[in-house]
Structures are given as structure tokens and as C-alpha cells.
């Protein structure tokens, strides 16, 4: 079972779960992925130890797809 999660204030939230032999679940996951992109999140998959890739479409064969917020350089937090 593959999972789409979003890192957020709760630690992380599972947005969708699917297996490739379930087209309805895949479709729901793709829709959830696009919603997160529209909200400004970025999709990432880990591709091995110390490696990750940005994804713009849901890789349906990935075990785990992570949505992360943008990063920015900036002032130190208080």
C-alpha cells in the first residue's frame, strides 16, 4: 500500500493511500496530490539513502510520497 502524506503541524497527515491495482484509490490520490500542489506544497519521494527527488506528478508506484512546504532563507526565529 502506497501513502501520500503531508508534513504539517500534527507531525504528518496521511492524505491518501492506494495500491496500483485500485484505479479509484489511485485517482483519489492523484487528486489529493494536485490539491496539495495548488496549496503551494511540493512533492518529494526518497530514492535511496541520502537521496530524494522532487515530483510534479504523483508517482503511483512509489511507496511513500511526501508533501513539504517551501523553504526559504531568512531571519532567525525567536
Amino acid at each position: 500500500m502506497s501513502r501520500l502524506i503531508r508534513m504539517d503541524q500534527t507531525g504528518h497527515t496521511t492524505l491518501a493511500e492506494w495500491s496500483t491495482d485500485d484505479p479509484a484509490a489511485v485517482e483519489a490520490a492523484v487528486a489529493a496530490f494536485r490539491r496539495e500542489l495548488d496549496r503551494g506544497y511540493y512533492g518529494v519521494v526518497t530514492t535511496g539513502p541520502g537521496q530524494a527527488e522532487m515530483v510534479r506528478d504523483l508517482p503511483v508506484d512509489a511507496d511513500l510520497v511526501i508533501m513539504r512546504a517551501p523553504i526559504a532563507g531568512g531571519q532567525l526565529l525567536p
Binding site: G11, R56, G74, L77
Partner: protein
């Protein structure tokens, strides 16, 4: 590198030159020149005043203090990028740390439990990733680069803040360093003694890894 593998956030700092090994060397030189430009005039003033009028020794001492303090303030600024932040909701923190633990190996997990920093080896050197910044130890160098960078959501638990930075670093290391603000670049010893004591073992571990 394909367009997909360039961090999208790089577009928000399009005027910056992409950070690579050469850029790091230039940044290091610039920091050295800047520090020298701050220190030398104060030292010169101190020496000249004592030479001209020995009774001005107290004023010379003040000038020397400035020559010492200014680089220390810069180093403090660098060390602050990995200063631990206030923790939020305990359950969220636990979930986030558990998730972060899944992203790293046992050694990095153990170091994070002790210091709150995640050690990550990459092309430019060995990184220590914190909640709102990262330190880069270059291989074969005694210099540390201190970058201020953070996830845009300020309410994330600490583990997720680190995970955001770690995933961005892994996806595009040079882009990560380009987006981040360089808060300080200087001698390792200068940064180490400004780090909170519980963070120092992480820097020591990164240095060992950089020299392996």
C-alpha cells in the same frame, strides 16, 4: 541537472549565483577579507595610540576588545542558525521525530537524539541540519559555513522542520545552499565554542566524517 530536480524555491532568489564548490571558496575568501577589514583597523589604532601616548593604553584596550568582539559576534550569528527552538505539542513532536527517524540511518538518528541535529553527507561536504538552519563542514577544510534556512510554516514540530530541510537538501544540495542565507563562514573553532554545549558533539562528528 533536469529542471525537475532544481528546487523550485531557487526561483525566489533568481539573482543569486548557484552555490557550488567554487562559490563556496569565493564566499570563504569574502568572509576572511571582511573579518580582516573589521579587525585590522582596530588593532592598528590600538598599536598607534600606545606608540604615540602610552597613557592611552586603556583606549587601546577598548580598540583591541572591538577587534576581538566583532568576529565573535559574527560567529555567534553563525552558531545561532542551529540553536534549538521551543518545542510545541508533544504528540506532534513525537510523530515528527518518528518520521524524521525513518528518513535517516541509525547513526544519524542517535546523533539527533543527543544533539537535535541531523548529520547528512553530500557533495559539498558534511551537513548538520537543524530546525532553522544548517552547518556545512567542507572536506579537508577547517572552515564551517552557517546557513539560515527554514520551512515556511512556522508552526511545524521540530522534527518536521528538520525533515523539510533534509528533503530539500537531498533533492538539490546546491539549490538548498543557494536558497539559504549564509549567516557566517569562518573557523570551526570559532563556531564550536559559540554553539550550545549539547550541539558540539554534532559538529565534532561532522568534522570526523569530513576527514574520514
Amino acid at each position: 541537472m533536469s529542471a525537475e530536480q532544481v528546487l523550485p524555491e531557487v526561483a525566489t532568489v533568481h539573482w543569486r549565483q548557484r552555490v557550488d564548490a567554487d562559490k563556496l571558496v569565493r564566499d570563504a575568501r569574502l568572509w576572511t577579507v571582511t573579518t580582516t577589514a573589521h579587525v585590522v583597523p582596530f588593532v592598528a589604532v590600538a598599536g598607534t595610540m600606545v606608540a604615540l601616548q602610552p597613557l592611552a593604553a586603556p583606549v587601546s584596550a577598548i580598540a583591541l576588545a572591538h577587534a576581538w568582539i566583532i568576529p565573535e559576534l559574527y560567529a555567534q550569528r553563525g552558531a545561532n542558525v542551529v540553536r534549538p527552538r521551543r518545542k510545541g505539542d508533544v504528540a506532534a513532536e513525537d510523530r515528527a521525530v518518528g518520521f524524521l527517524g525513518d528518513l535517516v540511518d541509525h547513526e544519524a538518528r542517535e546523533l539527533h537524539a543527543r544533539t537535535g541535529l541531523v548529520l547528512e553527507e553530500a557533495s559539498l561536504g558534511v551537513w548538520l541540519v537543524g530546525e532553522a538552519g544548517a552547518l556545512l563542514v567542507r572536506r579537508g577544510s577547517k572552515r564551517v559555513y552557517c546557513y539560515c534556512v527554514r520551512a515556511s510554516d512556522p508552526d511545524l514540530p521540530s522534527g518536521d522542520r528538520i525533515a523539510h530541510l533534509l528533503l530539500a537538501l537531498r533533492a538539490d544540495e546546491q539549490g538548498f545552499a543557494t536558497v539559504a542565507n549564509l549567516a557566517f563562514s569562518g573557523a570551526r573553532w570559532r563556531v564550536r565554542r559559540r554553539l550550545e554545549p549539547q550541539l558540539r558533539p554534532a559538529l565534532d562528528a561532522a568534522v570526523r566524517r569530513a576527514y574520514d
